[in-house]
Assembly symmetry: C2
Homo-oligomer: 349 residues x 2
DNA sequence: CTGAAAGCGCTTACAG
DNA sequence: CTGAAAGCGCTTACAG
């Protein structure tokens, strides 16, 4: 049983296909008395559903938004996806999703598939490293932009399209000030890879803010931008600072991990060493991922409105001028202090 | 600058459009010596990208799989999405995603949009209640199936299409046996709404298994199928069992919460009451969601391979006969015992 | 093996 | 306001 076509509806309503099209699928034209009703009735009776593929071909616009994220199972990305989803729906668009699991071949392939499907816009969300800006992806995007496609990147240093960027640097600085305010004077940093800009910005914002107050981190250790990266960095950091359980009277260093998942990994590592947060070591993260809600100890962090980021990306993607003008939109962060950074022991005077 | 069309490639290669089509986009035909190379060269030089919309129209197949989940930001669903994604990619399909945030109007709308885009298959993943099987959705799906569409539901009691179902009942029973094995004899249950089949199956599997050993839960309390539902149920349960911190020598009841998120909410509630897990009360959940990894205390649970579930759903969606035959595929669970159910205090003899 | 042509289901100037 | 017709970019019997 073949699907009902527009022509079927038109015939049943006793009008031309053109008229049926105008009644059913937008158009400012006002049809004559009763005509619209007749067409709509016919469509309802037949159960007509417009073929979006055919419409796309005729209109040269698909209503599709391509979205590539590095890992859909990561709460950071799934929140962004939620925002994209919601905004796309309000705008009457549909989202094509691809989760690359951080494989750049898959990313390139996804983008070209999106282009093949003539997505009206493509949103790239990930933590790309500045090094791996591969030529092919760049060339595909360039051609896509020429063909009137829109590209929006979130949180990545890409040389084309519009961008929505979390204010990593400024927000990390605010976190540093808040921690100083709490009385902390001894800091350490668990950073990410040097070529992930997000990680670098956060580290710099934090360290530079400390510097303005004459404070310098005791140690800095880098790890992968992941839970396991935080875990192993934390072990090395514990060794470097000679952290030991219950050394009352000593200083309690405050560690800034450049992402929540790294911070969570770090806490797990310390727990395995018998260290207690915040008694033996304090810690703060970044992102305020949803899963933090029931984490113990509760983690000080910086909240980014991930859903908001997704929504803004769609807004830019729908704005003709934005991507052409290479617009950058900044999303602020909000410092949240929780148990993990409570300074229990005061540094001996 | 308009996109390059197949005709452009054909002209440049000095062949007909038909030949170019056959060379570039599949077809078993073997072209003559050199022809294929010439066409491919022309395509490469011009940067030709096939228009998938036009292909879909001509082929009557879009290569699109529509996926609707109830909440993409929930780790349960995002893991399923990851599996769907991966399997779809291997099969050369693209996924259209919709996260409904549990709004059934949005779900219906999403399905009809997917149908409009002529998705080859639609996968419905959620925790639908048996009551809200709305007529419109059902009618849309019926027509879609008639038009050669495939429908796969995961974990839902829907009267059409194929289904992949976690073996909730059997796995919960295994959990019960494992807990008995650990020495537990005093149980309680935090269940879900009576019209969510997943919740009911898990509760029944657990309680019935206990019954075979002559054990009956001391209390059963139901809550929303969510973190907050677990939280408030846990408070009532604590009151019902008169749980108090550190009552050494007393029994330690073991509570089965029908999902991990409910269990996590329950633990949070107990913590607020000063109760310690597993010393004052033991608990086990269901799902083994990824975020459990660093939860303290570590939670006993039943692992469902969520990614696997997503992959199987795609396999069914791609199988013509499966959805017609209303096939049900079952995915087993695996019991994992962790700290939260360790029985420290032995019941006085 | 290759090509001319019809057809997929819509939209939209262009006439009337 | 309405309709006939061309066109969107492909695929695929059907001839040759």
């Amino acid at each position: 049983m073949a699907a009902v076509r527009l022509q079927d509806v038109a015939t049943r309503a006793g009008v031309s296909q053109a008229t049926a099209s105008r009644v059913l699928n937008g158009s400012a034209r006002v049809p004559g008395e009763g005509v619209a009703d007749r067409v709509r009735a016919a469509a309802a009776e037949l159960g007509y559903v417009a073929n979006a593929q055919a419409q796309a071909l005729a209109r040269a616009s698909t209503g599709l938004i391509g979205l590539v994220v590095h890992d859909i199972a990561d709460p950071y990305f799934s929140s962004i996806v939620q925002g994209v989803q919601a905004a796309a729906r309000s705008a009457g668009k549909l989202v094509l999703l691809s989760s690359t699991q951080r494989d750049f071949d898959i990313e390139r392939e996804s983008v070209s598939t999106f282009i093949s499907h003539r997505a009206d816009a493509i949103i790239l969300a990930g933590s790309r490293q500045s090094g791996d800006l591969d030529r092919d992806l760049e060339k595909d995007c360039a051609r896509y932009l020429d063909n009137n496609g829109k590209v929006v990147v979130v949180g990545q240093p890409l040389p084309f399209g519009a961008a929505v960027e979390p204010e990593n640097h400024a927000a990390s600085a605010q976190l540093a000030y808040a921690l100083l305010e709490q009385g902390h004077r001894d800091f350490a940093v668990i950073g990410g890879p040097g070529n992930i800009r997000t990680a670098v910005d956060r580290r710099n914002g934090f360290v530079e803010a400390l510097a303005t107050q004459g404070v310098t981190p005791l140690v800095e250790i880098a790890g992968d931008f992941s839970r396991d990266g935080g875990f192993s960095a934390a072990r090395r950091l514990a060794a470097a600072l000679e952290l030991r359980p219950g050394r009352a009277g000593d200083i309690t260093p405050c560690v800034f991990a450049v992402s929540d998942v790294m911070a969570i990994g770090a806490i797990a590592a310390w727990r395995a060493l018998g260290l207690t947060v915040p008694d033996d070591v304090c810690v703060a993260g970044f992102d305020d991922i949803p899963t933090l809600r029931d984490h113990v100890p509760s983690l000080s962090t910086v909240a980014l409105s991930l859903v908001d980021i997704g929504e803004r990306a769609v807004a830019l993607a729908l704005d003709d001028s934005a991507t052409a003008a290479h617009i950058h939109e900044f999303v602020p962060g909000r410092v949240i202090l929780r148990d993990s950074s409570i300074l229990r022991r005061v540094r001996p005077a």
